[in-house]
Subunit: 301 residues, 2 copies
Amino acid sequence: MTLDRADVARKDPGWVRELVQRPDARLLAAGPGTVLADGAQPALARLAPARGRLPDPILLGLEQGAPLFAVDLDELSDPTAGGPAGDVAADAGVVDDAQRVISLREAGTTLPPAEAGLAAYVSALMNWHRRNRFCANCGAPTALTDAGYSRHCPNCGADHFPRTDPVVIMSVEHERRLLLGRRAGAPEGRVSVLAGFVAPGESAEEAVVREVLEESSIVARDPEYVTSQPWPFPASLMLGFHARSDAGDPISADGELAEVGFYELETVRAALRGDESTFKLPPSISIARYLIERWVARAGN
Amino acid sequence: MTLDRADVARKDPGWVRELVQRPDARLLAAGPGTVLADGAQPALARLAPARGRLPDPILLGLEQGAPLFAVDLDELSDPTAGGPAGDVAADAGVVDDAQRVISLREAGTTLPPAEAGLAAYVSALMNWHRRNRFCANCGAPTALTDAGYSRHCPNCGADHFPRTDPVVIMSVEHERRLLLGRRAGAPEGRVSVLAGFVAPGESAEEAVVREVLEESSIVARDPEYVTSQPWPFPASLMLGFHARSDAGDPISADGELAEVGFYELETVRAALRGDESTFKLPPSISIARYLIERWVARAGN
């Protein structure tokens, strides 16, 4: 992403009001797991907002110096609704044939990486605002602050910030076999590496060992960090690890997985090739897929 | 930590009610950044709860098979208050001379690692309950569920889970010098490595580069993960990285740091030795200290 988030300057409401008036200001729109894409090119739709008609501006940042704001798709969906939201919609001329609503997954596979990253960012932020209109501490309605980077409670004074949940996701190997599971409720044949939320008070490495034990009864050791990826469903930070196991008899322990087992290198390689006769692995945009491909590349040598 | 958190079994309220009745059930108490410690030995105080008198049991887990619950220190502080909380307190016989309230920082330096980890866990969990009595989605009061691992809103149906904020913290080096800063408001001479929250929609590696740029104007490259640590002030997951910089002229950019600069290896080494003539580094329990010590050990070779 090549966006300047203006973390400091955004605290000045006067500066933000000026940005709203700028002729080069643009708007991105997002809903729950969706974004508004340009119909003609692989990019997000950049709408021209009605000047001065953003009563609660959510500033994503500056894009090559031009202010980029966000709006909830719901506020665009009914231009006849009236009120500030309807005004924004009517003047922005949305949604017309030039744009279409796509899922974040589609954004991840069809848009260039920078645009896909922007889609994840705007969707996560809008989802947080949608689900946090009240103060968890006292129950009073909260107000948008810092141009959308926080919400303030005028009743108890609490400040609330967007939440990002750390999740560990890990390839676990035992004798050139890889631990994969199928989530309860997932379609037949759809498997992936194991994953779970980091619990309060534990390190990421402890979470790896605990989750693998809980979901498969396997004792993982030596978790090594691989890489991380934001995952906006709704707002997670995926922390990818690789670990080893000395035993090879997984049992679905906590009911989260319908099936769990160690899969032979050749079987996993065939699934990566898309061999229809085997099982299905996660899509190429996911860190899960990356961990699996990385393991195959290394185990194959 | 050698605690079985009973992630699955805890969803059964009948099982949890039975645990409350068990004669080997124990209670830990925590307040904001504090825990109740045993006065005689380096351990947390394990109180015997009044049997069946935990109306809203928060189950930490099973410790060698024995149920371990948590209670807010505030509910123990006035045994004469009456009501369920007062009952718990009166029967538990708290707080007497055998226990004392200590800070989490003291817990981190004086207790064995497993007890310090437990202190972080109970404090983070109790703090979350204290600050989340209402539904952020609709403002209604929420009820404790899953024996303390979630809260449910009976009004809109939303489920709420404890929040853990991912934070990146990084040693950044340039020509055998280390980037250190003093937070605005911190005492003179107290410096540390830079750190900041991961923002929605960015990877941990992107957060490292963005935070270093925002706080010091330095362009960091090649962030490498080192290790992680839970940090219960109030509930963060610290993700430790090491990165490099090609330029060596830091400027405090966003106002978060009062001073920032590159420090020579010998100066940092002297500060680690506790040399009074130099500046002060973070305490030994922190991942910040670990990153600094690790850099000195490697740069010194």
